[in-house]
């Protein structure tokens, strides 16, 4: 199998056959065994591109071996993290994601309550005004509208006067 016929890794100056890349990585890790290893060995004998790519990968592993892993954060780190979590949870109660929504809801509720109080007081004001108007009107008009209370004649003169009054205008 020639590399030129198989190689479709055009994006980089790269010579491995695409269908063998995973096996080459396994081979590099020492994780390729049995018939797959034999197949790759057979391919490597005839493919200069894959041989070169494998040599590159091996060199890259040597290069990467100089890098050091991240240092151990130390035995006290878990305690620091737990303290951080406790602190965050305490302050987090005050700054939960619902807080802005709750705050807006409270503002809307307060505005609504204020508007309701205004409406009720306005209504009460109007109502009391109406009642006072009514009572004033009632106070003013009663003497004009209400008929005289009939009173019983106390003596003879009153009887004559009543008779004269009821027969007034009949003649």
């Amino acid at each position: 199998m020639s590399m030129n016929a198989e190689n479709s890794n055009a994006e980089i100056k790269y010579s491995a056959c695409t269908q063998h890349e995973a096996a080459l990585e396994d081979h590099l890790q020492g994780a390729l065994h049995g018939p797959e290893a034999a197949m790759l060995a057979e391919h490597l004998r005839s493919c200069a591109g894959c041989r070169a790519a494998l040599a590159d990968a091996t060199a890259s592993a040597r290069l990467l071996a100089v890098a050091e892993p991240a240092p151990d954060p130390g035995a006290g780190f878990s305690r620091i993290v737990m303290a951080h979590i406790r602190q965050e949870l305490r302050t987090g109660e005050g700054k939960s994601i619902w807080r802005p929504i709750v705050s807006v809801a409270w503002r809307v509720a307060a505005s609504a309550a204020f508007a309701l109080v205004l409406l009720v007081s306005f209504d009460l004001g109007r109502h009391s005004q109406f009642v006072s108007d009514q009572s004033m009107m009632a106070d003013n008009r009663v003497p004009e509208i209400a008929p005289d209370q009939p009173s019983l004649p106390a003596n003879r003169d009153d009887v004559i006067l009543m008779m004269a009054d009821t027969s007034h205008g009949k003649q």
Binding site: T18, S60, L63, L64, V66, E68, A70, S78, H84, E88
Partner: protein, 227 residues
């Protein structure tokens, strides 16, 4: 192992490994259950068990050491808050590492961190030292040589695409397996292998370009190596 046939010893070790792993897994599941029920000591134990690898994972992605501790603390806070929702269908470590990776990406997005760019190219002397590292079977012996080689490698890694750099660091430096990387990054195992292999090729490509772009006086020696 005296008086034990070779094949049997291999079988015994093959059997004992999964059992101990299973026991370890069950112990961890128990710890998770305790932590889920509000046992803080159990959660602290989980942190102790995984802090080193989470540190490695986060520093492999972020590079800036000063940010790593903050992000790792944030990762464990998120894990603590959402632990009750974790149903243990996946391994706790896989779930934890996924949260770590997402936290790193969120952090990079929020901070709009740009990759470090090293404008200065390598000197002829540096190039020849690096060449020594690549061709030698053993890493440099003295600590100063190792430190310089690390610095040069860091320069080259910065030239790689973010994805390549992450994969190479997590696999080759922090020691994550291909299987773990596939789970953490939600990729097929074969895809991880192919990407890793290509990332190695790109690293060597950067290395060669460094050789070509070295100061004029060193051109002859580089061409000799290339040819």
């Amino acid at each position: 192992m005296p008086n034990v046939p070779k094949g049997m010893a291999a079988t015994a070790s093959a059997l004992s490994l999964p059992v101990s792993r299973r026991e370890k897994g069950e112990e961890e599941r128990q710890l998770v259950r305790l932590a889920q029920s509000g046992e803080e000591a159990a959660f602290e134990e989980l942190i102790r068990r995984h802090q080193q690898r989470v540190f490695g994972l986060v520093s492999g992605i972020l590079r800036r050491r000063e940010d790593v501790e903050d992000v790792v603390q944030q990762v464990f806070l998120k894990v603590f808050v959402s632990l009750k929702r974790f149903d243990q269908r996946a391994a706790f470590s896989t779930w934890l590492y996924k949260i770590s990776v997402n936290e790193c990406w969120d952090y990079l997005r929020k901070k709009k961190v740009r990759p470090l760019v090293y404008e200065a190219d390598l000197s002829e002397e540096q190039v020849s030292r690096l060449d020594g590292v690549v061709s030698a079977d053993q890493p440099p012996s003295s600590s100063s040589d190792r430190a310089e080689a690390r610095d040069l490698l860091e320069h080259m890694m910065e030239k790689l695409p973010e994805q390549d750099r992450e994969l190479l660091v997590l696999k080759e430096v922090e020691g994550f397996s291909v299987q773990e990387l596939a789970e953490i990054l939600d990729l097929n195992v074969n895809t991880v292998k192919v990407r890793l292999f290509r990332a190695r090729a790109r690293l060597m490509d950067v290395y060669r370009r460094r050789l070509h772009s070295k100061p004029a006086g060193a051109a002859g020696s580089a061409e000799g190596k290339e040819g």
